[in-house]
C-alpha cells in the first residue's frame, strides 16, 4: 500500500514540489515586513556613521558578545532538557496530576523576566526570604545569585515552556504503537524515551530550542537586574547617550541572530523531514518506582518557576492593601479592570493575526521547494532576537515619515503589526513543525481521490495542523501579554495594559501596584491558555 502511494506521489512529484504562485507571493510579502527592523538598523548605522569594525575590536563589546552567547547556549541546553523531559512526563507517562501540570507548566512564559529576577533576588540574594528562613538550620552560604548564575537560573525557569509546549503538542501526536513495541521488547520507560520518543520529537525540540536561544539573545530585563553584561545591556546603557554605539550593538545582535538561525537550518534540514501522526488515544507509560522522584521533579520546577514569583508578588501586594492612592495596590480602581481586559483581547487578537500571517510561509517552507522560503524563514525567525525597543523605533521611523503610515501611527493595527514582527518567529516555528508532521501520503491519497486543494486543507491538513498552530498561538499570546517597550510606545495613546504599568511601577519602587498587576497578568494568561490552548488539546484518557 505504501509503495502504491509513494508511486502516486512520485508521479505527481513535480507538481507537489512547485508551490502555488499565490502562496509564494503572500509568504514573500509577509517576510518583507520582517525585513523592516533589519533595514532600519542598517540605515541607522549608515546615518550615524557608526564604525562596526572599531566596535567589534572593543574589549567590552567582545566580552558582551561572549557573555551573550555563553548565556544563550547554557540556557538553551538547560531549558531544552527541562522542557523535553517535562513534556514527556506530562504527556506520555502516568505521572500523577497530569491535567494540573499541563495547565500550569506553560505559565512561566508570561512572567516578565525582570519580575522573575526580582523574585529570585528577594528569595535567594543575601538577606533574602529563603536565606533568612534557612539560617536557623545552619545553612548560611548560598550561591551568588547575581551575574551569570542568577541570569541562567531565571531565564531557564522562565523559558523552558518554549520547548515544553511544542514538544508536548508533538508527543500527543506520536503513534503509541511504536512506543508499545519498544516496551513489549522489555525496554524501561527511560530507554523508550531515548530510543523512540526523542527521535520522534526532534523537530519540535529543535524548534523550541531555537526560540529559547533567540529569546535569550534579546533578553534584557533579568540580565540587567542581575548585572550580567550582554549586548542588550550595552544597547540599553547607550540608547540615549551614545546612539551610534547602540545602533552598532543592535546590528551585531541582529547579525548574530541571522548567523545562528541559518546555522540551525543547515544542521536540522534533514531532521524536519517526515514524521508520523497518530489519532489514537495515548496509553501512558508506567513510571513505577520512578513515580515519586518524577513527581518531585515536576513540583520543584513549578515551585521555582511559578509559585516562588507568585509568593513574592503576593507579599508585595499584601503590603499595599492598606495603602493610599500612591502606595496602594489600586485594586479598587476601574483602571485595573480595563488594563486586564485590554491585555486579554489585544494578546488574543495579535496571536491570531500572527499565526494567520506566518502560516503561508510555514506551508511554503515545509511542503514545497521554493528559493524564497529559506531566506524568508531566516529573517522572520531572526527578528525575534531584536530588542522590542529596536522594533518599535523601526516601525516609528518607517511609518511616521510617510503620510500613509502617519495615519496608522499609534493605532491598534500598528501595534498588532509590531507584535507580528516581534513574535512571528514563535508562530512560524510551531507552524512549520505542525505542517511538516502531516504525512504527505494522506494528502496524496486524497488528491488521487479527486479532492481539491481547499478540500484537502479543510479535511486533512487543518485538523492535523491545528494542535501545532494552537501551540504557536499560545506562545505568541503570552509573549504579547508581557511585552513592554513596543506596547508602551506604539499603543494608541491612553491605552494601557497590565505590562505597560508593571515595569514603570517597579522602577519607582511602587511594588504593591506592580505586584498586584503581575498576579493579575499570570491569572489572565492562565485562564486564556487553559481555555484556548490546553483544554482543547487534552486527549481522551485511557487506562494504561
Amino acid at each position: 500500500m505504501t509503495s502504491l502511494l509513494d508511486q502516486t506521489a512520485a508521479r505527481a512529484g513535480r507538481s507537489v514540489l512547485r508551490p502555488p504562485r499565490l502562496l509564494v507571493a503572500i509568504a514573500v510579502g509577509v517576510a518583507l515586513v520582517f525585513v523592516a527592523p533589519f533595514a532600519y538598523l542598517v540605515w541607522r548605522n549608515v546615518e550615524l556613521g557608526a564604525d562596526l569594525g572599531q566596535v567589534l575590536r572593543d574589549e567590552i563589546t567582545q566580552t558582551a558578545i561572549r557573555n551573550t552567547l555563553v548565556l544563550a547556549a547554557a540556557v538553551t541546553i538547560a531549558a531544552t532538557v527541562l522542557g523535553t523531559s517535562l513534556a514527556w512526563l506530562v504527556v506520555r507517562t502516568d505521572l500523577p496530576g497530569r491535567r494540573i501540570w499541563a495547565a500550569v507548566l506553560p505559565l512561566p512564559l508570561v512572567v516578565p523576566s525582570f519580575v522573575g529576577g526580582l523574585a529570585l533576588l528577594a528569595a535567594f540574594a543575601p538577606g533574602g526570604l529563603v536565606v533568612e528562613a534557612l539560617q536557623p538550620l545552619g545553612i548560611d552560604t548560598m550561591p551568588q545569585v547575581r551575574g551569570f548564575t542568577g541570569a541562567f537560573s531565571v531565564l531557564t525557569l522562565l523559558t523552558f515552556p518554549y520547548v515544553y509546549l511544542p514538544v508536548a503538542a508533538r508527543l500527543r501526536a506520536v503513534p503509541i504503537s511504536i512506543e508499545e513495541g519498544a516496551r513489549a521488547l522489555g525496554r524501561g520507560p527511560f530507554a523508550v524515551f531515548r530510543t523512540v520518543v526523542l527521535p520522534q520529537a526532534a523537530g519540535s525540540i529543535w524548534a523550541g530550542a531555537l526560540i529559547v536561544f533567540l529569546y535569550v539573545l534579546s533578553e534584557f530585563g533579568a540580565v540587567k537586574l542581575l548585572d550580567y553584561h550582554t549586548l542588550t545591556t550595552e544597547i540599553d546603557a547607550a540608547k540615549l547617550i551614545d546612539q551610534s554605539a547602540a545602533a552598532v550593538h543592535s546590528l551585531v545582535l541582529g547579525l548574530l541572530a541571522l548567523i545562528c538561525v541559518s546555522a540551525e537550518r543547515i544542521i536540522t534540514r534533514r531532521r524536519m523531514a517526515f514524521e508520523a501522526v497518530s489519532t489514537a488515544p495515548i496509553r501512558p507509560a508506567a513510571l513505577r518506582r520512578w513515580k515519586p522522584l518524577a513527581t518531585a521533579f515536576v513540583a520543584a520546577v513549578v515551585t521555582l518557576a511559578l509559585l516562588l514569583p507568585i509568593a513574592v508578588l503576593g507579599l508585595w501586594t499584601s503590603r499595599g492593601l492598606t495603602g493610599d492612592r500612591i502606595s496602594g495596590t489600586g485594586v479598587g480602581s476601574a483602571g485595573v479592570a480595563t488594563e486586564a481586559w485590554n491585555t486579554a483581547w489585544v494578546s488574543v487578537i495579535a496571536a491570531l493575526v500572527t499565526v494567520a500571517l506566518v502560516l503561508p510561509l510555514a506551508f511554503l517552507a515545509a511542503r514545497y521547494r521554493s528559493r524564497a522560503s529559506a531566506p524568508a524563514s531566516v529573517v522572520v525567525t531572526a527578528g525575534f532576537a531584536l530588542p522590542g525597543l529596536v522594533i518599535a523605533l523601526a516601525i516609528v521611523t518607517w511609518t511616521f515619515r510617510t503620510s500613509v503610515g502617519a495615519t496608522l501611527y499609534q493605532t491598534f493595527p500598528m501595534l498588532v503589526l509590531a507584535y507580528v514582527v516581534h513574535f512571528g518567529a514563535q508562530a512560524l516555528r510551531a507552524s512549520q513543525v505542525a505542517v511538516s508532521a502531516v504525512p504527505r501520503r494522506l494528502d496524496d491519497a486524497a488528491r488521487s481521490l479527486g479532492a481539491g486543494r481547499w478540500r484537502r486543507l479543510r479535511t486533512i491538513d487543518g485538523p492535523l495542523v491545528l494542535p501545532g498552530l494552537a501551540t504557536g498561538f499560545g506562545m505568541v499570546m503570552m509573549s504579547v501579554m508581557k511585552e513592554l517597550p513596543a506596547t508602551r510606545l506604539l499603543a494608541p495613546i491612553e491605552f494601557s495594559t497590565l505590562a505597560t504599568e508593571i515595569y514603570g511601577l517597579a522602577e519607582e519602587t511602587l511594588y504593591a501596584r506592580a505586584g498586584f498587576r503581575s498576579l493579575l497578568l499570570i491569572l489572565v494568561s492562565g485562564l486564556l491558555t487553559w481555555l484556548l490552548v490546553i483544554r482543547p488539546q487534552s486527549p481522551p484518557e485511557q487506562a494504561p
Binding site: 567590552i60 526580582l118 533576588l121 528577594a122 540574594a125 538577606g127 533574602g128 540587567k224 537586574l225 548585572d227 540608547k239 540615549l240 547617550i241 551614545d242 497518530s278 508585595w316 503590603r319 495603602g323 492612592r325 500612591i326 502606595s327 486579554a344 483581547w345 487578537i349 525597543l389 523605533l393 516609528v396 511616521f400 515619515r401 495615519t407 496608522l408 499609534q410 493605532t411 491598534f412 485538523p463 491545528l466 494542535p467 494552537a470 517597550p485 508602551r488 510606545l489 494608541p492 495613546i493 491612553e494 494601557s496 505597560t500 504599568e501 514603570g504 511601577l505 517597579a506 522602577e507 519607582e508 519602587t509 511602587l510 511594588y511 504593591a512 501596584r513 482543547p536 488539546q537 486527549p539
Partner: protein
C-alpha cells in the same frame, strides 16, 4: 489530536470572540494621526501613580484637556526624535535632565516664556530656557540601619573609596541619575579628578546595580550596606514596607555628593498649542502641584514658595550647591560621561 468540536463549541468561544472583536474594532476607530482630538498631548517619563493625580486636577480646573502617554523618559525622547516634524506631542515631562537635555540638543524644544522660567531659580532650568525643572531630587547615600552606625557616616562622597567601604557600596552605573551626577562632577572638578574617583570606586569593589530601586532593595536586604541613589527611593520603599531598614544620609552641604537633580518639563518646537502647553507647565509649578509633589512624592518643590517636608525640611534647597552651569554640559556631554564610566571599569 485536537477535538475541533470542543475548540469551536460556540457556547465557549463565540461570546468571547465577539466581545474581543468589538473591542478591537472600537480601538481601530481611535488612534491615528490625531488620536488626542486636539487635546494637549503629553509624553510623560514620570509614572501615572506619581503624576496622574495632579494632571487629573489640571483637567478639572482648566479648560484644557490633556492626553497622556506614560513611559520611560529615554525611550519617549527617542520616539519623539524619530517622529520628527510630524510629531503631535506638545509637552514632554522627563524623569531626569538627561532625556530632556537630549531633545533640547536635537533642537526639538521651543524656548519657554519668561512667565514660566521665572517661576524657578535660574539653576533649575536649561541655560537656553528650553526646559524648566519641576521638582528636585537630591543625591544621597542610602544605608542599612541595622548594619551601619549612623555616627560613622561620611561627610563627603570621596570617602567612599576608603577601605572601610570595601565591597559595601552599590552604584547604578548605567542609570541616568548616576550619569547626571558624573556629568555635573566633571563640570566642577574636571575630567581627570572625576575619572580617578570612579576608578577608586571600582577598585574598592563598588557593586553595580540596575537602578536606584534595585540598590535600595539590596541595601534593605543587607546585601550591601550603602548605595548612591536619589533620596526619594528609600522614602517610597519605606511607605510600602515600613520595616525596611533603610535610611538616607545627606553628604555635607558643599559636597559634590549632595547634588540636586531635577525632573523637568518642556514644550515641543512642533507643538500646535504652545500656549496651552506652557499653561500646563505653569500649573505644575503652581502651589497645588508643588505641595502635592512635596507631600506625596517626597521631592523638593522648586517654586511657589512651597517648603520641603519630612527629612528634606532639614536640608533647605539653599544649602545645596549647584547645579549651576553643570547642566549646560548635559546636552552634549553625556556621551563623554558614558565613555568615562566605561573606562573607569565601574560596573564591569
Amino acid at each position: 489530536m485536537m477535538r475541533l468540536r470542543t475548540v469551536l463549541r460556540p457556547a465557549t468561544i463565540a461570546p468571547l470572540a465577539i466581545v474581543m472583536l468589538a473591542s478591537a474594532l472600537g480601538a481601530c476607530g481611535g488612534g491615528g494621526g490625531d488620536a488626542c482630538d486636539g487635546r494637549l498631548t503629553v509624553y510623560s517619563g514620570r509614572t501615572e501613580p506619581l503624576i496622574g493625580p495632579i494632571l487629573d486636577s489640571f483637567n478639572e480646573q482648566s479648560d484644557i484637556d490633556v492626553c497622556v502617554r506614560y513611559g520611560d523618559s529615554a525611550e519617549l525622547a527617542l520616539v519623539i526624535d524619530a517622529e520628527g516634524d510630524r510629531s503631535e506631542v506638545d509637552v514632554f515631562i522627563s524623569q531626569s535632565p538627561g532625556a530632556i537635555g537630549y531633545l533640547a540638543g536635537e533642537q526639538r524644544l521651543a524656548p519657554l516664556s519668561e512667565a514660566t522660567l521665572g517661576l524657578v531659580e535660574d539653576r533649575f532650568e536649561s541655560p537656553n530656557g528650553h526646559w524648566v525643572g519641576l521638582t528636585g531630587r537630591v543625591r544621597v547615600l542610602v544605608y542599612n540601619t541595622d548594619l551601619v552606625d549612623a555616627a560613622s557616616l561620611p561627610e563627603s562622597i570621596f570617602e567612599l573609596t576608603g577601605p572601610e567601604y570595601r565591597d559595601k557600596v552599590g552604584v547604578a552605573s548605567t542609570n541616568g541619575s548616576f550619569q547626571d551626577f558624573v556629568t555635573a562632577a566633571r563640570g566642577r572638578l574636571g575630567d581627570a579628578e572625576v575619572l580617578a574617583f570612579l576608578e577608586g570606586l571600582a577598585a574598592n569593589g563598588a557593586q553595580n546595580y540596575a537602578s536606584n530601586a534595585a540598590i535600595v532593595e539590596a541595601v534593605g536586604r543587607g546585601e550591601i550596606s550603602y548605595g548612591l541613589v536619589n533620596h526619594y527611593y528609600a522614602l517610597q520603599a519605606r511607605r510600602e514596607n515600613p520595616d525596611l531598614p533603610v535610611a538616607n544620609h545627606f553628604f555635607a552641604d558643599a559636597d559634590l555628593g549632595k547634588l540636586i537633580l531635577v525632573s523637568a518639563g518642556g514644550v515641543l518646537a512642533t507643538s500646535d498649542q504652545p500656549e496651552a502647553a506652557e499653561t500646563l507647565l505653569q500649573f505644575l509649578l503652581g502651589g497645588e502641584s508643588q505641595t502635592y509633589f512635596s507631600e506625596q512624592t517626597f521631592e523638593y518643590p522648586l517654586a511657589a514658595g512651597v517648603a520641603p517636608t519630612g527629612e528634606l525640611a532639614n536640608q533647605p534647597l539653599a544649602s545645596i550647591v549647584g547645579p549651576e552651569g553643570d547642566l549646560a554640559a548635559l546636552g552634549g556631554g553625556l556621551e563623554a560621561t558614558a565613555a568615562m564610566i566605561r573606562e573607569s571599569g565601574l560596573g564591569r
